[in-house]
């Protein structure tokens, strides 16, 4: 009868890591950086605003990892999407820009997805290649120049605007998390994603269309990266090929720390949200502490390593 007891232990540990980590880092900075204004509502809001694109990409990645796939190309998709949107809006209306940005993301996701789902190439290698491929595409689109977004409505909806006093980036985050969570936990699609990542053969003999699920999760990653690209373009009122470049590690770390298994079958959208906010706090706190950029990178890397090690540790092994 030791089996169930161990299972409960490991479940508790893995589930609670993110809550303790989140709380621990929050309290640490709250005390250490009290005089530097960490706890001011302005600073806390800022953290949420800055993490909005990463949180939204993390949702896509939870689905991909849960289905046993991975997307490494979303950073490049962000740049291509933001640039597509900005270019479309130079002469066209806002809706054209939104369609171009989201469309580019979904198309690249579909490209990844077809290679993975129907040609049976490993998603790690496919998206590693398309990461480079579309980073190059983003650079050629504008010859490395940045282009500004002059559409005020767009900048409002996807950037600095507010609705009933709530910043639009917060609203986007909440909408994405709620829809993502319900889809993940309470729809047949979510159940099929988990089944495919857990045991693809079992899913297949149970009548689940496994290739379609694989295609869908990679398209979803593309779509969330596309939306993240729109949010970057809206907030900065400009698009450049560097957008999304540094998000790869942050987003993967947020998702893993948030309790999503690297090899599929298990995950959490709420965990990914907390993981993403934790990464945001870390960035913010280390800057307020006055660390050099190079030192920030080292400390952040070490903390992510620690958090990932704890959340992946399996008590039963």
């Amino acid at each position: 009868m030791t089996k169930p007891i161990n299972a409960i232990k490991s479940l508790d540990l893995q589930r609670s890591v993110i809550y303790f980590g989140f709380l621990g880092i929050f309290l640490f900075f709250a005390v250490i950086l009290y005089d530097d204004g960490f706890l001011t509502s302005r600073n806390l809001t800022n953290i949420v605003l800055q993490t909005a694109p990463a949180t939204i990409m993390a949702i896509g990645l939870v689905f991909a990892l849960s289905a046993g796939e991975i997307d490494l190309s979303f950073g490049s998709i962000v740049a291509v999407s933001a640039l597509s949107a900005a270019m479309a809006m130079q002469s066209g209306p806002m809706m054209l820009g939104v369609a171009a940005g989201l469309g580019a993301g979904i198309l690249i996701g579909a490209f990844n997805g077809v290679l993975v789902a129907y040609l049976r190439l490993p998603s790690f290698l496919v998206t590693l290649a398309t990461m480079g491929l579309f980073a190059g595409v983003a650079r050629t689109m504008t010859d490395l120049r940045s282009i500004s977004v002059l559409n005020d409505t767009f900048a409002g909806i996807f950037g600095s605007g507010k609705l009933f006093g709530v910043p639009s980036l917060v609203i986007w985050t909440i909408i994405a998390v709620v829809i993502g969570h319900i889809t993940y936990r309470n729809t047949r699609f979510g159940a099929h994603v988990l089944a495919v990542g857990d045991n693809a053969r079992a899913a297949q003999v149970s009548g689940i269309k496994v290739p379609r699920v694989r295609l869908m999760v990679l398209m979803l990653c593309g779509a969330t990266a596309g939306l993240a690209g729109l949010l970057y373009a809206g907030r900065l009122q400009a698009a450049k090929y560097t957008l999304g470049e540094s998000d790869l590690m942050t987003v993967i770390a947020a998702v893993i720390v948030g309790g999503t298994a690297l090899n599929g079958g298990k995950g959490s959208i709420i965990g990914a949200l907390l993981g993403s906010l934790m990464m945001g706090m870390l960035n913010n706190g280390l800057i307020l502490m006055g660390l050099q950029v190079s030192d920030q990178m080292i400390v952040r890397g070490l903390i992510i390593l620690l958090a990932v090690a704890i959340s992946l540790r399996d008590v039963r092994r």
């Binding site: 309470n186 729809t187 047949r188 857990d198 079992a202 899913a203 003999v205 149970s206 079958g265 298990k266």
Partner: protein, 245 residues
Amino acid sequence: MTPTLSLKDIRKSFGGVTAIQNFSLDLFPGEIVALVGDNGAGKSTLIKIVSGVHLPTSGDIALDGESVSFSDASAARSHGIEVVYQDLALADEQPVYMNMFLGRELTRKLFGLLDKGKMREETQSLVDQLDVRIPSASSTIRDLSGGQRQGIAIARATHWASKLILLDEPTAALGVAETEKVEELVASLKERNLAILIISHSLDQVFRLSDRICVLRRGEQIGVKKTADTDKNEIIAMITGVHNQ
């Protein structure tokens, strides 16, 4: 009485290799037929033909007297045929009730969201009926024993099968006590008027469970015997082709 499953002159070849030929068998409701034979005798091919994975090269399959042809496994399933695979085909990280409804999840009318409560309830009542003892319908498969997992796989097949269950080595990985429990479960399925085709390497088990025994050797049907009218020596002779008399 109309047989639940009727196979006539089934033949399957892959390229030039004949995996099975001249196979005919009638299976009646509430009957357990064991399929025995050495490795490579064609048992798995036969299971795959009946479950819709392979189309037979020639021959007829009839369900309740009606001729059928399955384009894929889903087609066989929709005709009330369920398979319990040797690897059980369970998703280990998911709860029992999600496995019970894998690929056939129940949803609410509102927004088509999953009806987890109803799936949990139906799962609980099914495992209670079949006396599969698990902590709860919400337990994760990973936390269950081999016997409990096998019980879940069989319960799932029972839930969805209206005609026929194919069992591929249901106790190969189990201990003595668990084997006994699973055999009780399989025997209890007869009362549900299901026809059962079981592959087993254990002749003891075959003699304990089956009503008839069908022997295959190198893709050929050697014979079908009533279990009560035969003994192990005869079956072994049929399997190996070696006669000691």
